[in-house]
């Protein structure tokens, strides 16, 4: 073995090939089957895609680095299930490009945050977390209230999402901008199209409390309110034992 190596280390290209081959094996065996084994991702026939407004909110969540402190992955541990709700299933992040499972909980897990608090609570909390939770370490995101939301190009965003495998229809892509506006303005004419395309249960609301402008606050609250609610398969299925 050492004699073989004694020869190998005299051959630069041989060494290069050996490194590439040896290093590729682990990833191939662990990652490739995840795309082919059916049981990896559960079925969820009722699952819907993100609305344009929720997707815009998700992009703000990414932009602000929220994932650095909040996980969206409840583990199969008893205390986590009791604290946060049913453990997360793979299918629940099927449309998450990229996934936001997170790796650190400086703040709590928010995989099942949707519907837990009112829109008003979220707006006030994002505006200054310490008004509601005096001990909080979360930054105050006041600029979300000031910044108007960019919605003109949301159709292109949906098209890119479709390119990576999310089943957006042509109609959804064509109406993305109008749907983003309508979802945050329940009294507008555009509101009806949102529920027609994304389902009756879609949360159409004055998220930031202000009808006149569409702000980044509208989008982020719309996103936070859908967390864990694209499908209710995790609540319906019998959960395997937790440790």
């Amino acid at each position: 073995m050492f004699n073989f190596h004694y020869r190998l280390e005299r051959n630069a290209m041989g060494l290069v090939l050996a490194i590439v081959v040896v290093a590729s094996i682990g990833g191939l065996i662990e990652i490739a089957p995840l795309f082919t084994i059916d049981e990896t991702v559960e079925d969820a026939p009722d699952m819907r895609v993100y609305t344009p407004l929720e997707l815009a909110g998700r992009n703000i969540y990414i932009r602000e680095g929220c994932y650095a402190c909040h996980s969206q992955m409840i583990r199969t541990l008893r205390d986590e299930v009791e604290r946060y709700g049913p453990y997360s299933l793979a299918v629940e992040s099927k449309y998450d490009h990229p996934m936001l499972w997170g790796s650190k909980r400086t703040g709590p897990d928010i995989a099942r945050l949707g519907g837990k608090y009112s829109n008003e609570w979220h707006v006030a909390h994002l505006y200054n977390p310490r008004d509601l939770v005096p001990e909080s370490k979360m930054p105050a995101y006041r600029w979300l209230m000031r910044n108007s939301l960019k919605i003109g190009d949301l159709g292109e965003h949906l098209a890119a999402m479709r390119a990576v495998g999310v089943p957006y229809t042509d109609e959804m892509i064509a109406n993305a901008t109008a749907d983003a506006y309508g979802q945050a303005n329940p009294d507008s004419t555009q509101a009806a199209g949102v529920t027609a395309r994304y389902g009756e249960a879609t949360n159409v609301s004055l998220f930031d409390g202000k009808p006149e402008t569409l702000t980044e606050m509208d989008a982020i609250v719309a996103y936070l309110q859908i967390l864990g609610r694209l499908t209710d398969v995790a609540h319906k299925t019998e959960q395997a034992s937790v440790e």
Binding site: A12, M13, D79, E92, H97, R130
Partner: protein
């Protein structure tokens, strides 16, 4: 300081003068191309943040072009100069590494302070924790670590092959191009541009640019090896090559994405959900393995034996640990996803390989420490060598801790807590930064042909600041992580959870302050290092007799393979 500015100006012209006339022309063409790409990005990205990056690219190209033009008329370098090693990119890389190091560590202290005092954001989006945190991680990993790796790899490659780099232009392309990537990364985060993939945050165009830079880097390695005057490729180069090759594989696969349009900075990852999570942590864990371990082991295998004046203890241990690390690390990433929606079989594989990984890891650490046998008096007297010894010890500690935390039951407690953060910093401060500072302290007098560093006592001061800072930081995070992990799972007599989440966060406050203090100590050490190295460089150069022997050889000369090269 005036003297320093003079050195930079003279240095810039002098460095351009060492390029051949043809290389200067190629450099100008490349820079014009870069400036055009920048302007094109600014035009295509109107109304998008990409426009800002376009202008940054163009401006970056113009600054480099200005340096080039100052020396473009210099006479062709003497034939004699091509018989020497080519060290200018290494010198600039050392300075850049130190600058990025101070910036990255400063931002690290800042984000640490934000966790203790969250209102320090001052209502500015760019100054919030979520945007500054990747500036810290990329700044220290890619800015500080990456520049140090590029700088030392060019030095080690030439000395261990006894061959000059194949040309003068491509190493500059790699070094300057890489720093353009780092600038795009850091400025992007502040503006809110991120893919959210940890340690792979830069957006698609920066990723594409890094691929080009990386291919040239690989070609420099292969071309220099082809010119080598040593039959055997020294072990340090195996590690540098593994670093270059595997980082390329990881970078390309993990960053596969579809941009919204050619004028949008934003892209959507090709993978989603569980597949994306596994790909991300296959990348993330092996960024630790091949960026933060393999590359720095390359440093260790050259600078430690050189400084100690001892050959590497065991050639066979080097072989076993090299291939063990190259093979097994790539399986270990799934231990970041214990108890998640990742299939159980992948979690188990990740845990098993993480445990076995301790064998090659400790073989490396042991090999380094046993190399010091017979030189322990030097470790006592020479703080530079002591930095390297401490790095090997922390490497051993951090890899043991890593294997331990990969055990499912342990991970159920440690994951999502500060214990992970503490573990990362045991490796990053204790291992990566210590071996880097030790290597740079050894390298600077050789590169600038000085008899010694400006001050050995400042190295001593830096050593104790760095050690104290690391210990304070790691102990704070062990305490906070284990405390919080236990509080999360504590039940009261009624069988309900005893603590609310916010109770556990309140318990973290003293540790977050302690961690800020630890980071501040470490940062102070880095500033001392910067000052010491700057003073070493800016002092007038005395005639150094030893430098005359530091030349590549023309005729091939057989040498013992188990020794560090010249």
């Amino acid at each position: 300081m005036i003297q320093g500015t003079w050195i930079i100006q003279r240095g810039g012209v002098g460095m351009v003068a060492l390029l051949t006339a043809l290389e200067r022309t190629y450099a100008a063409i490349i820079l014009v191309f870069v400036i055009c790409v920048g302007v094109a990005m600014a035009v295509a990205g109107r109304g998008d943040l990409m426009a800002a990056h376009g202008w940054i690219v163009a401006l970056f190209g113009m600054v480099v072009m200005a340096v080039l033009l100052r020396g473009i008329d210099a006479p062709e370098p003497w034939e004699e100069r091509f018989r020497e090693y080519y060290d200018d990119p290494t010198k600039v890389g050392i300075i850049l590494a130190l600058i990025w190091g101070v910036i990255g560590m400063f931002v690290g202290v800042w984000v640490a302070a934000l966790l203790a005092w969250p209102d320090l954001t001052f209502d500015a989006a760019w100054a919030s924790f979520g945007r500054l945190r990747p500036v810290h991680t990329s700044g220290v990993i890619f800015g500080f670590g990456g520049n140090a790796l590029i700088a030392t790899s060019f030095h080690v490659l030439q000395r261990t092959t006894r061959a000059r780099l194949p040309d003068q232009l491509s190493p500059w392309f790699v070094l300057i191009g890489y720093n353009l990537f780092c600038v795009l990364a850091a400025t992007g985060y502040l503006m809110g541009l991120t893919q959210s993939k940890e340690y792979a945050e830069p957006e698609w165009y920066a990723d594409l640019w890094l691929v080009i830079v990386w291919v040239v880097y690989f070609l420099i390695y292969i071309r220099t090896l082809a010119r080598r005057r040593e039959p055997h490729i020294y072990v340090a180069n195996w590690y540098y090559m593994a670093f270059i090759l595997v980082v390329a594989i990881l970078h390309i696969v993990n960053n596969l994405a579809v941009p919204v349009s050619i004028g949008h900075a934003k892209s959507y990852s090709l993978f989603s959900g569980v597949q994306d999570a596994m790909t991300q942590w296959w990348y993330g864990h092996n960024a630790v393995a091949f960026f933060l371990t393999a590359g720095f082991l390359g440093m260790l295998y050259y600078y430690l034996p050189k400084r100690a004046g001892r050959p590497i203890y065991s050639y066979r241990m080097s072989i076993i640990s090299f291939w063990g690390i190259t093979f097994m690390y790539m399986w270990a990433g799934s231990h970041h996803l214990h108890y998640t929606a990742l299939p159980h079989w992948v979690q188990t594989l990740g845990m098993v390989f993480s445990l076995v990984l301790l064998v090659p890891s400790w073989a490396s650490a042991g090999n380094a420490l046993l190399t010091l046998n017979g030189a322990w008096h030097k470790v006592r007297d020479d703080a530079v060598l002591r930095f390297m010894m401490l790095a090997a010890i922390f490497y051993g500690i951090a890899t043991f801790e890593g294997s331990f935390m990969a055990i499912r039951a342990v991970n159920s407690l440690s994951h999502y807590t500060d214990w992970t953060v503490g573990h990362v910093h045991a490796g990053a401060l204790g291992w990566v930064a210590m071996i880097t500072f030790g290597s740079l302290y050894a390298l600077v007098p050789w590169m600038w042909k000085r008899p010694a560093l400006y001050s050995a006592r400042l190295v001593e001061l830096h050593f104790w600041l760095a050690l104290a800072g690391t210990v304070v930081y790691v102990f704070a995070m062990w305490n906070s992580g284990i405390t919080q992990g236990l509080m999360w799972r504590t039940y009261d007599q009624n069988g309900t959870l005893a603590y609310s989440f916010i109770d556990t966060l309140v318990a973290m406050h003293p540790y977050y302050i302690a961690r800020t203090v630890g980071g501040l100590l470490f940062l102070a050490g880095a500033v001392v290092a910067f000052y010491n190295i700057w003073m070493t460089i800016s002092r007038p150069a005395p005639v150094d007799e030893g430098a005359a022997a530091d030349l590549p050889v023309e005729p091939p000369a057989p040498r013992a393979w188990a020794q560090a090269g010249e």
